[in-house]
């Protein structure tokens, strides 16, 4: 009976889960292609990407939106996943600190990427 007096606290997960979900979609569709292009094909010289055209892409608002999406969302996805993987691996020390640390990292990357893009 006393069980029913248990108080439940609303988790703040919906925010992070939303960003995690968005990041999952972007990471599934765009990230592999981006890694292939920027990490392999361009460095190996298979594909040419000249500065002027990349710069032009990042200079208009449509390009900026795409870039912030492929940078920020997967970052939130990854940080959320690492934070939860720590619990899965029974690393439960300083949960509060690591929560701020991981989500803070995603936040900083988002803001920094946004600022750079706006500055272009």
């Amino acid at each position: 009976m006393s069980k029913h007096s248990k108080q439940y606290q609303r988790a703040d997960e919906p925010i992070f889960w939303g960003l995690f979900g968005a990041g999952g979609v972007v990471a599934a569709f765009a990230t592999p292609a981006l890694i292939l292009i920027t990490g392999l094909l361009v460095p190996l010289g298979v594909l040419q990407l000249d500065y002027a055209s990349v710069n032009a892409f990042a200079s208009n608002w449509f390009g900026k939106l795409i870039l912030i999406a492929v940078i920020a969302f997967p970052m939130w996805h990854a940080c959320h996943r690492i934070y939860h993987a720590m619990h899965d691996l029974k690393v439960d020390v300083a949960r509060g600190f690591f929560k701020v640390f991981w989500y803070g990292m995603a936040f900083v990357v988002t803001i920094a990427a946004g600022a750079y893009l706006i500055a272009i």
Partner: protein, 248 residues
């Protein structure tokens, strides 16, 4: 003709005499249609009458006979010796629950959680018998039917790594049962259950491993119910920011 035999390894634990669980081997006569429960019956009737295990219906509907079979949560009555001829067969009590005796696990926590989610139809406006039955369309039935097929066997709790790490987590079957009533068009009790859904112990304790749905013997798909619960909780989160929360 000599009877083919099969070796079955069974976990034993008799708290009044054993310090820790140990494994005991038995030779049972083999037949193609012999289930794990049949093998345990044979052992109890012919080899060691002290063996304790739960079972009842023998037809995958009572949910009593959950064991770990070669490390995988299974119903003993729905699992057959013939599928373990090459691997050998080891039967243990359900993972993630304390052992009460031999194959009997203490599922008290699981049962409490099932009760906690108010698994019954709640009405805000009372209706009398004279008003007749609550009609439901096939589409309304489809929204919850699959989730109502749970037999409370607890296999999904034995499969869930999050429940194993922290049993404050409500777990697959209880959250599915909660969702089943929230999805029922006759029910008006969502507001009484949403606090559990929204909590860390609720749907947010789940990291969508999905093993619960894999082991479920009734095709309930608790993982799907929990993901739908996350969507519900997210909507409720946004609404609670836009609109002051009802007083409850």
């Amino acid at each position: 003709m000599s009877q083919a035999m099969m070796r079955v390894t069974v976990q034993r634990y008799r708290p009044e005499q054993d310090d820790a669980p140990f494994m005991q081997e038995f030779e049972v006569p083999y037949a193609d249609d012999m289930s794990v429960i049949d093998a345990l019956h044979y052992i109890k009737d012919n080899l060691d009458g002290t063996l304790s295990y739960r079972w009842s219906c023998r037809m995958a509907i009572c949910g009593s006979c959950g064991y770990m079979v070669n490390g995988v949560p299974k119903l003993g009555c729905k699992t057959f010796l013939r599928d373990y001829l090459n691997t050998g067969l080891t039967v243990e009590s359900l993972a993630n629950f304390p052992i009460e005796r031999d194959l009997v696990s203490d599922i008290g926590d699981f049962v409490e959680k099932l009760e906690e989610v108010k698994p019954y139809i709640i009405r805000q406006d009372a209706v009398s018998v004279q008003d007749g039955e609550h009609l439901q369309t096939p589409a309304q039935l489809t929204r919850y039917r699959q989730y109502s097929l749970c037999i409370n066997c607890g296999l999904c709790y034995a499969a869930c790594p999050q429940y194993g790490l922290n049993n404050e987590f409500m777990g697959p079957a209880a959250l599915t049962l909660l969702h089943r009533y929230n999805q029922d068009s006759r029910d008006q009790g969502r507001d009484e259950r949403i606090d559990i859904v929204n909590a860390e112990e609720g749907v947010w304790g789940c990291t969508f491993v999905g093993y619960c749905s894999e082991v479920c013997p009734k095709g309930v798909d608790p993982a799907a119910a929990i993901q739908q619960g996350k969507v519900e909780s997210s909507k409720d989160f946004v609404m609670s920011k836009l609109r002051p929360r009802r007083s409850s």
